[in-house]
């Protein structure tokens, strides 16, 4: 365990690097994964993010922060970007951009919302929508390191078609190495759906587990109202605040 206040990662000079998009994968109708060629990539920890800077021809600059989706062990750095239709940055990153395009990034940054295999488990990962991205980096890292840490991943999504990385999650869960993936679909369900069909609440978290008595490391990522509701429910179930790591994202201009 890290000493409170000690950096989990060494300080990284915050330089802007020009990166090249080497692959684009459509994940859902609204989200794309961008695999990047990053010169002199210093490596990252699952859960960290990158700041992205786009500069328009007229000099206008827009910056956004995106979670890294890839595991540290993966060959390429990948971001998954959800398109916000009236946003400034995401319609380009998750829409117009093509392979070979370049933009600037700095990072990786962040150390609070991170997990490394040596930190151990059990883990409870709770994702709201594209809040799954940094948690996916943890799940991929866990698999790459054959960590075996007991892990519950609870994914809340409006509908099944909006769930990122569906096939990969199914594959990872089928390995039966301690990863269990549970879905709740809040808006529409496929015919015959037998899973959860409501917003994440305390009874759902209690059923999914692990119980607070097992002192799991909990990571919650999603839109702010989702994170607040889940964090409150976790506290009501007796999870210690210091075990609950939260990360919020919101429509800050997209």
């Amino acid at each position: 365990m890290a000493t409170p206040g000690a950096p989990l990662v060494a300080p990284v000079p915050l330089v802007w690097r020009l990166v090249t998009v080497v692959e684009v994968v459509d994940e859902t109708p609204h989200a794309r994964t961008l695999a990047l060629d990053v010169p002199d990539w210093p490596g990252h920890v699952a859960g960290q993010h990158l700041d992205v800077r786009l500069t328009a021809e007229d000099g206008y600059v827009a910056e956004r922060s995106y979670s890294i989706a890839s595991a540290p062990e993966d060959a390429r750095v990948a971001l998954t970007v959800e398109r916000i239709d009236d946003g400034e940055v995401s319609p380009y990153l998750a829409g117009e951009l093509v392979v070979g395009d370049q933009f600037e990034v700095r990072g990786p940054v962040g150390g609070h919302f991170t997990w490394r295999a040596q930190d151990g488990g059990p883990l409870l990962l709770v994702a709201g929508g594209s809040g799954l991205v940094p948690l996916m980096a943890m799940v991929r890292h866990r698999a790459a390191r054959a960590s075996g840490a007991a892990t519950e991943l609870l994914v809340s999504s409006r509908e099944r078609e909006a769930v990122l990385y569906r096939d990969e999650l199914e594959r990872l869960a089928s390995a039966e190495d301690g990863l269990n993936v549970v879905y709740t679909l809040t808006r529409s369900r496929p015919a015959g759906w037998s899973g959860y069909a409501r917003r994440v609440d305390a009874p759902m978290l209690a059923e999914v587990g692990p119980a607070a008595s097992a002192s799991p490391r909990v990571f919650v990522c999603g839109p702010t109202p989702f994170v607040e509701a889940v964090a409150d429910a976790l506290v009501s179930l007796g999870h210690a605040a210091e075990n609950v790591h939260t990360e919020r994202f919101g429509p800050t201009g997209g």
Binding site: G5, A6, H49, G107, G110, G111, T114, T246, E247
Partner: protein
């Protein structure tokens, strides 16, 4: 209901200290600050910077998740030529 939606919309614009990891790194000379803890001078609780609430407006304000007390104010003046930073509470900054 209208009021609830309004509150939800406002909540949705509130992020947390994780979102300014890079900015904090600049201010603190490259240190990773989201895992650093801050002792609040108002409520006495200690929380990681990453758990503090972030409000963006003309500048940005970071607030204690326990009581809402101001932890950090950053205002950029004259473009980005000058950055005005106000820190409150006890920030535990790792050295070395």
């Amino acid at each position: 209901m209208e009021e609830e939606r309004g509150a939800a919309a406002r909540d949705a614009t509130v992020l947390d200290g994780n979102a300014i990891a890079a900015l904090l790194g600049e201010i603190f000379g490259g240190s990773e600050m989201t895992s650093a803890t801050r002792g609040c001078g108002s409520c006495g609780q200690s929380h990681p910077i990453g758990e503090h609430r972030l409000y963006r407006g003309a500048g940005l304000v970071l607030r204690c998740p326990g009581c809402g007390d101001v932890a950090l104010v950053v205002v950029e003046r004259g473009g980005e030529a000058v950055r005005e930073v106000q820190l409150l509470g006890r920030w535990q900054v790792a050295v070395g």
